[in-house]
């Protein structure tokens, strides 16, 4: 950077597990290096508390699940030049969006809390882009440090970050991994899942469970058929799609279609 003023960034947390913010804190030495190039204004986990600071880039982790969070995201948007949602929670609603599926929120809440009137959660857990304009999305549960640095570096050079939309399968084949679906009949979501993780699960001999969300043009219909061919009952097919990214439209629809064909008996494991 030739300018003397360092770009300002902020990291905000909404309903989440904190795992995506760790992509910063797990940078090790590179974190210190990063702080030389950018000015981190707000990042609670790192002890920096200035939520209303004007920044160039705001990274947002977590889904929107309370009225207060909805108000807060509008404030973040107002104070940020670019807003980047990080992780499944922020980009699709994440695992907790499972509560949206059957409008189960109220029953769940009442079953859990003795004083449900004090629990001010909304019925649905929603992605950030439902409420405000999002300039760029980083998918993954969690995102990794490589994705994060690539996005920061692009923006520091004033170019839009490159979006990864390919399928996990492409990466898996590039690494010449043994296909767990072909050799072990495992219901791998690699053919419909967005790349970015480095095909971690197949490299560990297991099936991808879709934590990076849907790829471009995911052919969920044919994959569902293939899963059925592997012996999965409709309910088990539905559960494959309805997990970490159950509110991402492609997975949501595929899950509901599978569910609607469920006859309710048979081996569901």
């Amino acid at each position: 950077m030739s300018t003397t003023v360092k770009p300002r960034i902020a990291v905000h947390k909404f309903s989440s597990c904190d795992g995506c913010q760790l992509a910063f804190l797990n940078l090790g030495g590179e974190l210190i290096e990063l702080t030389r190039r950018v000015d981190i204004r707000h990042f609670l986990e790192a002890g920096l508390d200035d939520p209303d600071a004007d920044v160039d880039i705001a990274f947002v982790e977590g889904s929107l699940s309370t009225q207060d969070e909805i108000e807060r995201i509008h404030r973040v948007r107002k104070h940020s030049r670019y807003l980047i949602s990080i992780g499944a929670c922020a980009t699709s609603g994440g695992l907790q969006a499972l509560r949206n599926l059957d409008n189960q929120h109220d029953q769940w809440r009442d079953a859990i809390y003795a004083k449900p009137e004090f629990i001010k959660t909304l019925n649905h857990a929603r992605p950030i882009a439902d409420e405000v304009r999002v300039d760029f999305e980083l998918w993954g549960c969690p995102i990794n440090s490589r994705q994060l640095l690539a996005a920061v570096n692009s923006l520091l050079f004033g170019v839009p970050p490159i979006e990864e939309r390919d399928k996990v399968c492409m990466e898996c084949k590039r690494q010449q991994r043994v296909c767990v679906m072909v050799t072990d009949n495992k219901p791998c979501l690699g053919p419909v899942t967005r790349t970015g993780c480095g095909a971690l699960c197949p490299s560990f001999g297991r099936d991808c469970y879709g934590c990076y969300g849907p790829s471009d043009n995911p052919n969920t219909e044919s994959l569902s058929k293939r899963f059925a061919g592997l012996g999965l009952m409709p309910d088990a097919v539905a559960r494959r799609f309805l997990m970490i990214n159950s509110a991402a439209p492609a997975f949501h629809d595929a899950g509901l279609i599978a569910r609607s064909t469920d006859t309710g008996d048979g081996d569901n494991g």
Binding site: C17, D18, L25, I32, E45, G47, I112, F118, I119, N268
Partner: protein, 433 residues
Amino acid sequence: MAESRRIRIDVPALTRVEGEGSLKLSIEQGQITQLQLSIFEPPRYFEKFLEGRAYHEVPDIVARICGICPVAYQMTAVQALEQAFDFTPSDWVRRMRRLFYCGEWIQSHALHIHLLALPDYLGFDSAIAMAEQYPAQVQRGLELQALGNTIIKLFGGRSVHPVGARVGGFHHAPTDADIKRLNTQLEKARDSARALTNWCAQLPVPQDDDSFINVALKHESEYPLYEGTLAGSDGLSITAQEWEQYFEETHAPHSTALWSLYQGAPYLVGPLARLNLNRERLPAEIADNLNNTGIAFPSRNMFHSMLARAVEIELAIHEALELTAAYSVPERPFDDVIPRAGIGFGATEAPRGLLWHRYETDENGLIKHARIVPPTSQNQARIEQDLHNSLQAFGLEHPDDALRLHCEKVIRNYDPCISCATHFLQLELERQP
């Protein structure tokens, strides 16, 4: 004003404690008349998502409860589910789970000490500011954290929500060469960990002498991580199955966190409680070094929690060295489990303390009911009690800012999940002459 009567409820939830916190404090005539720590972390209803899911999905789901201690959630879940299926993992699996868990202790403790606790003691706002004056120490801390992450990655591919754990064992076994490389790194880190302990022991901490019940696992031959019986400093000694007979969870209306009480009273879990109950399980050289610091354990000073974390980093490195030295690649890193209808319990030592799970499965291995009690909700009542006592001891006449800082420092001893422990505490203070 919300009444703070505690209600016993039957269906518990999982609400991690972090996010927003505020402390309501009323002081009248030099006495605390009200002290209420309110935590609002939007509940994510994990125990409810788990219903109807297959047993093999559980490790990937529960990991998402916490990005900082996913291994703890995975290990407790597999332990409980294996009990439900009456399955005993192989000795290799048992040892490697311990090694995997060592990685998380090292990572989480190093993160806590360097990013959250030390800036307090050294008078900085943040670790980033601290790094300018203490570059070597911060560097050492980041290296330890990275070492912990390396261990987790060997078994799980990544350190946050690792993908390698399964009911029955692991999906994948690291190669001999990988483990050898790790062993060399661990060997190098041993001295750093020792130096960290000695440094932490030298930092002045507030004097504090508080009486509390320590609760942690105990094991016949090991410092407890992945398994053991549940023990208390009052002589309690029970199995995980019996937890519900002695402990109960309540919902304090001023918080979204559920509180858990031991026979109606607050209690402590976490590194200090563990060390207080298990110091005789420390390897001789770690115990000797700790003795040489002049700080005696069991300790009744909560501010020794940071030192306890440093000692546990040393312990985890020691354990990991032994486990890696004796490593061999197994024929298969897991055994097949046969699901059945059953109930299983799991109890392990997460970095922040005892983590307890209970699952009920049907004959296909689908989850009928899940219950998870995380460490932070167990420490909730204890934190309020501690704040009460330690504010009195500190002196209520101090200005608001000093009171707030002191409260933050007290709360941070419990490492109550990270964002809660940072500089966020809103103090609502009412003073009446």
